[in-house]
Every structure is written in C-alpha cells, then in structure tokens.
Symmetry: C2
Subunit: 195 residues, 2 copies
C-alpha cells in the first residue's frame, strides 16, 4: 500500500535495536483518515472471503480494527492482556512472550464472544516475531472458530513472524513489509514496492 | 441517548458491587454500528465548539474514540497506562488511582502529541469515580492544551465522578447516566430518560 509506505518514510523514526517508531500516526497518535484508507485496502484484499468478526489485541490494535470493521460491517473483539489468573471456564486464554517488553503475559477472550461458526479476521498494527499473532491463532483454534486470515499494517520482514505465519498456511496480508532499515541513513526498503 | 439506554437495558448485566457489564457491545466485543451512532451524537452535542484532537485512555476508550473522531475529522491520541518509570522530559504524566482494579498507575502522553494550541475533546467509555478523567485533565493542563469538553458513553450517576467534573466547570456530556440499578430485579433507572 503505497500511501502507507510513503507515510512510514515521511513520519516513521528508525531507532536502535530495529525499532520503527510510528507513534505519530499509528499507535499513540492515530490518523483516522489513514486508518480509513487502511480499512478500504483490507476490504479489497479480503473481498473474496466471508468474515463475521474481527479479532485484535489491546491496546494499539483496537483503533485500527474498529475503523477497518466498518468496511466489513462486523463487530470487533479485542483480546485483553492480563497478568492475573483468570477464572477457568469463562475465558479462552493463551500465553504470549513479548520480546519488546521482555515479559510474558496471558491474553484472554470471553468464551461468549468467540466460538464455532465464527469466521474471524485478525487485525493488528505490527508483526515482528509473530508471538501475539500465534497467541491469537491459538485462542481462535481453542474456541472452534475459523481463522479466515490476518491483516497486518506493518510487517517487519527481517524478523521471523511473517515466515512462520505464512508457512503455517494462514492467509496473511501485510500492507507494508519492511525488509530492511538503516538507523544512520534513515533508509527503509519495502518488499514489492512498485516505485 | 435512547438507543444506548435501550441497549444497556437489553444487553447490560448488573453484577454485585455496582458493576455494570456491557462487554458484549461496548468494551470487549464492540458494536461498531452503535459506535457510529455514538459518534454522531457526540458531534451533535459538541457541534458548537472547535476541536482539533480527541484524547482517550487505553484500552477500552480507544475504539469508541476512533469511531467518534471520524465525525470531527480529527486525530486521536490515547494516554498509555504504565507502571514503569518514564524518562522525564519526553512525556506528560499523571497518576491515576483505580478503584475497580485496586491499583495505582501512571498515564502518559508523549509531549509531541499534545500542547499549546490544541483544543481537546476527551472521550471515554465509563465515568464512575472520575479518577481517569481527572488524570487526563491534569495531563491536558500540564501540556498547555485547552480542554474543550468530555464525552462519556456511560456515567454512573450514583458515584461521585460526574458531580466532581461538572462542579469543576468542565463541560461534560454523558450519553447515558445510570442513577440506580438493582442487581436482583435487573432494573436500571436512567437520569432524564424521556420515555
């Protein structure tokens, strides 16, 4: 998605440790006009499949997922991150290891909001090591719902997440795939960029 | 907002300790069609004022704020909850005491996304004791931005938050104010309900 790649080049900041800061428009301050274009693009890419629910994970996935959901006319469910023990039986739960924050947390979804018959599109802002997406996939599987695909705004193509998810047979659509970036020069190379 | 009050009566669940669960449509599973009506109603109520930014707080405020923002054509900034110490100078920070979760946390907003000249509308899902809203108000004041008003989806009118905020001179618009609710009978009394 060229509009997104242009925006990442313009406003993204490359930091030490392969960190790409896009918090001026994606995940702290949120450019809703851009989110609408992202929503249209996901709808275009997943136009051929039936979806009745969007699943995301707090916190930075929620805003994008809600705007995207308008183009699919479906509700959004967000998985909650928790470090407290939950009452077994009421929620689906999965463990996620976060490299960025150096901690392990559980994600939970109430059983009443996900289950057999649901055709789920996962939406998230970033895909790097793929741990969050693996956790969501495990939740969906446990619930008996069907994972139709995953829509990611920015994939870090130089990390393993994309390869792992694609090789597991999940349909993955990433709107911008960063293959490399250089902190010193500020250069970003995107996969399959047209221009 | 009658549509919202009807929905709370239909799908809200009253639990012990004055807890109103609305997680089937507001803050776990999110009904985007309802959010759009909420957005239109906030736009109607704040039609007379100039707003250039919406501020909310993670996690459950984000989805509502993003949909609402479409009707104002402004970006959204969400305050992040953190229990880690942040680098002074880069963020505005405020302390919030959560009764519901029995803990104290800091909320932060990067300085680059809030400041003098900003005319801010705060959007959140719930107002009860008003601690989160007080924290956001303190952040806005510290930043030099102007707090134009606060839009709340559900106010618990039997708790002190609404009175505190209104008496401080802040323009507060709550779409549904619960004056009382009864766990045993399931009855909810809303303030100023027309029917």
């Amino acid at each position: 998605m060229q509009l997104l790649m242009d925006r990442i080049r313009k406003d993204g900041k490359i930091k030490a440790g392969n960190v790409l800061k896009v918090d001026s428009f994606l995940n702290h301050q949120m450019d809703i006009e851009l989110f609408k274009e992202i929503g249209k693009e996901f709808k275009r890419r997943f136009a051929d499949v039936e979806i009745n629910k969007i699943l995301t994970i707090e916190a930075s996935g929620i805003g994008i997922a809600c705007i995207v959901a308008q183009y699919f006319n479906v509700p959004v469910v967000f998985a909650k991150k928790t470090q407290t023990k939950n009452i077994a039986g009421e929620v689906y739960t999965s463990r996620v290891e976060s490299y960025t924050h150096g901690r392990i947390y559980d994600i939970i979804v109430a059983k009443e909001f996900l289950g057999k018959g649901d055709k789920v599109l996962v939406i998230d802002d970033f895909l790097a090591n793929g741990k969050a997406l693996e956790g969501l996939t495990a939740l969906i599987k446990e619930s008996g719902a069907e994972l139709v695909g995953a829509g990611i705004v920015i994939e870090k193509g130089f990390q393993v997440g994309g390869d792992i998810i694609r090789s597991s047979g999940i349909r993955l659509e990433s709107l911008a795939i960063v293959d490399s970036m250089d902190e010193e020069t500020g250069t970003i190379v995107f996969r399959n960029e047209e221009k």
